[in-house]
Point group: D3
Chain length 127, copies 6
């Protein structure tokens, strides 16, 4: 059974983060901590915050960062229409230079949706 | 009576946009149109969209763009805490390089809040 | 028979664009439209416009965008010397950070030239 | 008699370049040299090269660089329509984040056109 | 008695930072803390770290950030030649787009050197 | 015997540079020359200069450039702690958007350290 793009990404990310932490001084550790805290529920919902993280990553054109937030968006229940509207802002602000990233976003989104469906089907059969 | 930072900004912006439109071909006109439409209420609220526009502008470090969305955020009822949380994401994603812009954001925010208070006071007196 | 880097790129691009269009709202569709129109012949030739698109993509360091415009440049008849001079401006404006992209540009350019030669040879033989 | 935006810019630029050169080592001097050479006539015309320099500067959002190339574009005979088409590419590639710079471009362009007209009028009267 | 560019900058910076701190949540406060700690003496000297901060700010083209680190470089005893060599790397990496910032660096450097000389002269006279 | 990430990188880089030089005009050749000279020992040590090059590349997020300077840093004797402190500045200045590059830096650093150890072991055995 193959694993989805989201799981593969998370596995590789975890593996590399372990190497980072082996060498990380206090600054890097603290930064990782802040980077985790800033997306928690607060005056703004965690969902809105993930959209903010994703669109920031889109206009700065960092595929790994976009993908990370995209997976979080899926988990927080972002809909297709919400994703399209958030990405549209990134596209207008950041220009056509963001389009290759946009393409990869939707490709992974499709994969995540289809692998979710399969999982739900399997769970239905086994229950 | 002096005018606030937000009005001054809007006046200058309108003046220059008139010059742009004098020379603008179809592409620029269409782009301006899209740039207006993309922030309208939809699956995501106009308020969330303005926050997305502002944080994108922050990480790309464009003062004029940040200021424009900041004024819109004020009009859409963004609170101090919501603004702080949105900007915090921009700061973490974009790094210390965004701090000078952050300073200018809060400076204008203070000015907008104080000029709003004065206006409300005046209106109360004259009513 | 293997296919050239340009064809592979275009096939992948078309495949992903179909997914984008499946989810695209009005803004994304309109943006794609503008993005197509802006490179058509006008006061400036389509060739000059492709060079403008390519050098902009180079200084913003987007490989997919560079490659797209590079293929267009080849089709519009850009010569080796013209390409070198355009890229040189991108290199000077954008700095050594553009060099890895420059390397990939010339690598693909070589491939496109050699696959063009082969095609012409084949056509000569079969005619 | 006031001086135009272009002359003021060039005077300030020359003044600061003198300070740079006072401290400049070999690298900076050589870089300045390359930066001058790269815009000379060659396989591509100096006019096309100035457009390439200007649009690169637009997408990287450097006002001083844009202004420098804008003045050169004026001297090389770039027309209103050519300028609009080149800027349109920068706008589409770089997104709405370039709009504040676009506004300043057209403002200076207007000033340069009107100061040119005045000069021509004066010269006509005195001849 | 007029104050130097460095003092003016620091005064404005302190004033605005007070406004930032008035609204700052935990993330912003922590980030400011990290941003202070990261430049302290360690395996690398504070002087080397300020050069790293300055060149990073140069290639990202943030005048306020460059100026901040430039003042620190002066205090840490960076020489003219060391400054030139560090800036040269920024220029080569980041391209001609950094030149306007380079000009402003050397202008402020000159001002700081000349105001230092005056202060030393005054102190000599009064002692 | 497999070759390390550093050797593979250098081989690919040399191969592509040959193609670049085949088409390179005077500007590109001169730029390559400056790009080499700027990292030589001077008022600042070559080691400090490589750190400056690496951190600049990190905040501009160019993997090839980071990797190139990382290999040079290893050769100039940069320690784990020095590397961590230099990267920490890049992380704070450039934000979380640099983290994916940070991960790849430490991964290659580990590989270079382990392949160095193996080489030393082999040499010890054969001597």
């Amino acid at each position: 059974m193959t694993i989805g793009a989201d799981r593969r990404f998370n596995q590789e990310r975890d593996k590399l983060n372990k190497i980072v932490m082996k060498y990380a001084g206090l600054t890097v550790k603290r930064f990782y901590n802040i980077d985790h805290q800033v997306y928690q529920d607060g005056a703004l919902s965690a969902k809105t915050k993930e959209l903010l993280g994703m669109v920031s990553s889109l206009v700065l054109r960092c595929d790994d960062c976009i993908l990370y937030h995209l997976i979080q968006c899926k988990e927080k229940g972002v809909s297709d229409a919400e994703l399209d509207e958030a990405l549209s802002i990134g596209l207008v602000v950041g220009g056509s230079i963001t389009i290759p990233h946009l393409r990869r976003v939707w490709k992974v989104w499709e994969e995540m949706k289809s692998s979710l469906k399969k999982r739900q089907k399997r769970e239905k059969h086994t229950s």
